[in-house]
Each structure stands twice: as structure tokens, then as C-alpha cells.
Symmetry: C2
Subunit: 203 residues, 2 copies
DNA sequence: AAGTTAAACGAACGGTCGTACTTTCTTCTC
DNA sequence: GAGAAGAAAGTACGACCGTTCGTTTAACTT
């Protein structure tokens, strides 16, 4: 167990969480039931339960697992690009790719769960909010770097810009799913492109 | 019954639907259960059930009721303003007011339910999608009028603009709720203002 | 290969879910 | 005010919920 192999339990736990995140992206975290996971994964209900000890812990673990997936699909590709505008562009491209690929069958895990828990105080909401905050902190950092390198105009309000790009990106995925209309992705991409260009020096 | 008075049954039905929409805005349409409505409204479970005949019909009726509420709070105020930019501005102001008032305790009913059902085919999703479509058709109509009156530049892509404003407006409410941060409303308002100004002639 | 620990099982719990009945009471109509 | 129509109550159903328990099987350690 000093090498890379996984203990049996850890392996099962990951399987459960991956499925839980998939379900949650499409039907919300409340749609994830222990009995359902057990049936679909052909494990006993108690076998699923023991890994987490409570429904809430399962939900929290699912949020953490989804955040890790998000990081791998969006943050890492961005970090692979050079600082400044290239990284900013890589970031939003990766984000859009992640939404339509689809990494999660129900679109973005966080779009679904934010809407589900934003008005429901508790540990789950706090965990989701924390993941969201970490993500927007990261986008702001990338945009700030771009501004400091002169790739964006000095007056650029980074927080405001991050908010707007966030809104535009999320809306693309949501509209595409709701209306079965891939054109929404294009609209989203176009909006992000032109919003970024308004903050770009000497047009 | 030719006068304005309501039959007893219709009155109860409305009470149920109002509560159902309130719950759904905060916890989703699946969070609306017949037993819960019965307990909270001090009616018997069967008393609630009889009005709709099935859970799905209750959900569909809730969507219709919420759409009517939305229309009253957002569409009507906009129609009261003169065509062109005044109406466009009235529209987005009313929308933002509706989100924070709050008309629904969990923010926008449609933000919550779209995210819940966008990846779940069925009659409920279709009803939500239809309401959304009616709404964006209306915003596009208002923007088109403004363009035709010369209040927006002739090249304005109305559908694209509507998409972006929609995204920005929704994001304000969502962020404000998730992070308990009223500044999100201001960001949203600011984004809408500046996006509209980019489509406004001779700056 | 044996010994130990971790993982998964299976059955059962009290609750709540949506739905199906029949019965009782209100309310509207004439 | 009597009769018809409608609304609400009451009860019961099977299904699934999260959770607890004691037991059994599998995996890891040495």
C-alpha cells in the first residue's frame, strides 16, 4: 500500500462518488439516494452507507469529488498555458469543453447543485459555495495576471469581468440542455470573446 | 359565480399552488411533496391530492402559477412603459426587483427549476422550457422594437443580446443567494447597463 | 498460510412518499 | 330549503427513504 494501488474500499468509494456526481449533475444532490446507488452499482445498501455514515456526508463527499473532477478538466489545462491572455483563453475554452463533452451527463455539476442549495443553509451549501469561491478566485487571479502583463486594459475591473464571464459561460450550458440547442454554446463562446475584447488594449 | 368571488375549491387550489411555488423556488419542484403541503397548510393529504390527481399535474400547475406570478411582476410593468429603450430598461429593472424583493423566498422560481429539470426529459421540463421560451421571446421583441426605433444600433443581434442579458440577470440573483452577498445584484445591474450601452448609437 | 482487519451483506426499523378508495361535510343551484 | 355537486377528510396500500444491527466474506498483513 506504499505503491499506487488502491485498497478495495477506496476503489469502491470512488466508484460510488463518481456515480453520485453523475446523478447529481442531472437530478440534483437530493436525487442521489443510497438505495439507488446500491441498485445501480450492484452493491448492498448498507455497503454503500458504511462508506459515509450519513446522507449528508455522502453529499459532502460528492461535492468534493466533483470539485476534483472540475479541477482536473478545467483548472489544469489552464495552468498548462502561459500566463496572461493565453491562459485566460485556455481557461474559458476548457470550461466550455467541460460543459459539453460531457464530463457529467447532466451538464455542469455545480450549475445544478448551486441552484439546488443556494437557498438552503447548511454544510452542503457551504461546501458548494466554497468550491465556487475557489473557482472564481482562480479566474480572477488569471485575469489579474493578464491585466498586469498589459494584455487587458489597466482600468479593467477584474472581479466584475470574472462575474460576467462566469454568467455567460454557465448560461450557455444551461440553455443548450434545456432547449436541446447546441447554438447556445456558440452564443456563449461569442459573448465571452466579445466581452474579453472590450477589455483588450488598442483594438 | 358571475361576480369576482371565488369558489371555495378554486381558493384552496390557489393557496396550495402559491405555497408550492414558494417551496419550489427554494428547494426545487421535487422538494414539493403532497404530504408537506398538507401539513403546512393544515389540510388533509387527500384534500391536497384531489385538486391535481397526480404529482406531475401538481408540478405542472405549479409551473403555470409561477409563470403567471412572473408575468405579473415583470412583464406587466414593462408593458406599462413606452416602447423602445424605456421599455427595455423597465423590463430589466422589474426583473431585478422581482429577484430580490423577494417575490419567491428562494429567489427566481425559474432559475431553480430550470437547473433541476434541464437534463430530465418529460412534461415538466417541457412546461418550464416553454415558459422560458415565452419569456425570451418577449425580451427579444422588446429589444427588436428598440432597435427598430433607432434606440439600438441597426447591427444589433437581438437574440444574442437577449441571451447575454438573460445570463447576466440570472447570475446576479444566484450569486447573491449563494454567497449572501447583495453586491452581486449591483454587479448584475452594472453589467446589464454597460452591455446595453455597447449596443446604443453614437456614444 | 494464518491471523487480523476491513468491506460488504441481508434483514429490519420507523418514516414519508404518491396514490386509491370510501365516507362525511360544505357549498352552490334551483 | 331540498337536492345535486363539489371539496375535504379519513384510511389504507405498497414502494422507497435513511439508518442500525449482527453476520459473513473478502482482502491485506506478516
Amino acid at each position: 500500500m506504499t505503491d499506487g494501488r488502491l485498497l478495495k474500499g477506496e476503489q469502491t468509494r470512488r466508484t460510488i462518488l463518481a456515480r453520485a456526481a453523475d446523478i447529481a449533475s442531472a437530478e440534483g444532490l437530493e436525487g442521489v439516494s443510497i438505495g439507488r446507488l446500491a441498485t445501480e452499482l450492484k452493491i448492498s445498501k448498507s455497503g454503500v452507507f458504511t462508506h459515509f455514515g450519513s446522507k449528508e456526508e455522502l453529499q459532502l463527499a460528492t461535492v468534493r469529488a466533483a470539485a476534483e473532477t472540475f479541477r482536473r478538466h478545467v483548472v489544469e489545462p489552464a495552468l498548462a498555458a502561459p500566463e496572461g491572455m493565453p491562459r485566460v483563453r485556455a481557461l474559458y475554452e476548457a470550461w466550455q469543453r467541460y460543459q459539453r463533452e460531457p464530463v457529467f451527463p447532466g451538464g455542469c455539476f455545480f450549475y445544478a447543485t448551486v441552484a439546488e442549495f443556494d437557498a438552503r443553509p447548511g454544510r452542503v451549501r457551504d461546501a458548494i459555495a466554497k468550491a465556487e469561491r475557489a473557482w472564481s478566485d482562480f479566474t480572477e487571479r488569471c485575469l489579474r495576471e493578464a491585466r498586469d502583463l498589459g494584455h487587458l486594459t489597466p482600468e479593467t475591473d477584474v472581479a466584475q469581468l470574472a462575474f460576467e464571464l462566469h454568467a455567460l459561460c454557465r448560461a450557455g450550458g444551461a440553455n443548450a440542455l434545456l432547449h436541446d440547442d447546441n447554438a447556445a454554446y456558440a452564443r456563449s463562446a461569442q459573448a465571452i470573446r466579445s466581452r474579453l475584447s472590450t477589455a483588450t488594449p488598442h483594438p
